[in-house]
């Protein structure tokens, strides 16, 4: 096992494979050894297809030898949360009722990554239905702690060096929170930026494709491969896709609006203190960071999100629940039962409120490139029963705005901490450029493998 490769960003690995300094097969050898060593402890995977991955790697190496590269991800292994369909691999979403379901097609996100040259190594563990009943996955930084959820296996697998990137989803905080808990970059693009065909939905007007990677540059690379209109998916927008890799090439210091309010009230003091330190570091490095007050009705977002989530989940899984109620774990069962009782007037009112707030809250960005606040209320909680408080990420999921989790080092318990950056709708270039600048200024991305080699 070449340990230096295990936490190398995907952009760097891709460059090595492109220049034929590294064969996709040899890279996969290192990842496989790591998976075999650590998976019994971490339980990050629902399905592994190493045999298939080797077949893909060998084919890609042959193509590279003949001068053909499929795309910017040529030879890069990835994982997909087990709510995405991938041709030939079981898709369960944590539901026993789907035990025998093996799709013969790829979800849009998976297909686009494959088209860019990525290798699908397998499917990662998820909370049931991407809701809250936990997966058995443990946090690589401390096995006694949750990796967060619902994209639990995706975050654990990337943090541990099993794959350089993984697909997740986000309906509340399910990509950014596990990314933060595991010391990684998490990206949720604007609602509609990435197609969702072949992805199990929980609450269709809230569900986003998510991405968990090591660096902002990796996020730009993968988003470039996945973004854009998709035939047959009415929620995938035809808006022009940005030049994400160009945007991060030479970023300027951003103008940042810093949000306190309910975010500070709900965040543990040590985590908030680290956030304040990070803000000071960004200011000292040249960013303009000013406090932006939240409007009094901002917390209403949490209520409207709750009404929409509960209502839509009941429809998404109505038939499966009717046929297989016993396959639903306790929280998912309660969700399905409660969903049948919410008045339609409340659901429609919540949709109206979202539209209204989407218009009004755009003013938060006046004079600023980005907003910054906490991404999670603390480090990963101890135990596997609870995947953590989603409150800090819910507003941006609800509004459909692009948001990114960025590491800000380790806390006193030795667990990763993160911050959150948010951009206006469709401004992923601005988000990634600002995040890249902040990433360089903070230089606070923890490296689990380095920590293993030289424990504090």
């Amino acid at each position: 096992m070449n340990r230096a490769l295990l936490t190398m960003p995907a952009t760097e690995v891709a460059a090595l494979i492109r220049s034929r300094e590294l064969a996709a097969r040899d890279y996969l050898d290192s990842l496989r050894a790591r998976i075999e060593e650590r998976e019994p402890l971490l339980k990050a995977w629902e399905t592994l297809d190493l045999e298939g991955a080797y077949r893909q790697a060998e084919a890609l190496d042959k193509e590279a030898a003949s001068g053909k590269l499929r795309g910017p991800l040529h030879g890069i292994p990835i994982a997909a949360k087990d709510v995405f369909c991938a041709d030939g691999l079981p898709a369960r979403g944590g539901l026993a009722a789907l035990h025998d379901y093996v799709p013969d097609f790829d979800a849009t996100a998976v297909a686009r990554l494959r088209r860019a040259g990525a290798i699908v190594v397998g499917k990662t563990a998820t909370t049931q239905l991407a809701y809250v009943d936990p997966a058995p996955t443990r946090n690589p930084w401390n096995l006694e702690h949750t990796p967060g959820g619902s994209s639990s296996g995706s975050a654990a697998a990337v943090a541990d060096g099993m794959v350089p990137a993984a697909l997740g989803t986000q309906t509340a905080a399910s990509t950014l929170r596990p990314a933060a808990f595991c010391g990684l970059v998490g990206l949720k693009a604007t609602y509609g930026r990435i197609g969702r065909k072949g992805m199990f939905l929980l609450a269709p007007t809230l569900d986003h494709v998510g991405l968990i990677v090591r660096t902002v540059s990796d996020a730009a690379l993968f988003l470039s491969a996945m973004a854009g209109k998709e035939e047959g998916d009415p929620t995938a927008s035809g808006r022009p896709v940005g030049e994400y890799l160009s945007a991060i090439a030479n970023p300027s210091p951003p103008r940042i609006g810093f949000l306190r309010g309910l975010f500070q009230e709900r965040t543990q003091p040590e985590t908030w203190a680290r956030l304040e330190q990070s803000v000071e570091k960004l200011r000292a490095s040249g960013a303009i960071v000013e406090e932006v007050p939240l409007p009094a009705d901002f917390p209403l977002i949490l209520d409207a999100h709750q009404v929409i989530l509960v209502s839509e989940a009941g429809v998404s899984h109505f038939d499966t629940f009717r046929r297989h109620p016993d396959d639903f774990r306790p929280q998912a069962q309660v969700l399905m039962e409660t969903s049948q009782l919410v008045p339609a007037t409340a659901y429609l009112r919540a949709l109206q409120i979202r539209r209204y707030l989407q218009g009004g809250l755009g003013a938060l960005f006046n004079g600023y490139d980005l907003l910054l606040t906490a991404v999670a209320t603390g480090p990963a909680p101890r135990g596997l029963e609870w995947t953590g408080d989603p409150v800090c990420a819910i507003p941006w999921t609800f509004l459909g705005l692009p948001a990114l989790a960025l590491p800000m080092g380790l806390g006193s318990q030795g667990l990763p901490l993160g911050l959150q950056l948010i951009a206006p709708a469709w401004q992923e270039e601005r988000l990634l450029a600002g995040a890249r600048w902040c990433e360089m200024a903070l230089a606070a991305t923890p490296d689990l493998l380095a920590q293993e080699a030289h424990p504090a």
Partner: protein, 69 residues
Amino acid sequence: MDSPRYPDAEEWKSLLTRAAQARWGEEAASRMQSLLERTAASIRAVMDYPLPGLEASSFVLPGPDGEER
């Protein structure tokens, strides 16, 4: 005519709890209590929020190109 009176959070909770008992049974309603309470409070907040007139009379749903209409 007096303004219609809408339920407060306690009343929403009671309404949902009674509906849960009738639909899913006493035992299930007991399991559901925590989510019922949270959802009741959210329904109350959503129904009480004073939207401006135009917003309150319009519905916006995704159009065929994914943009909202």
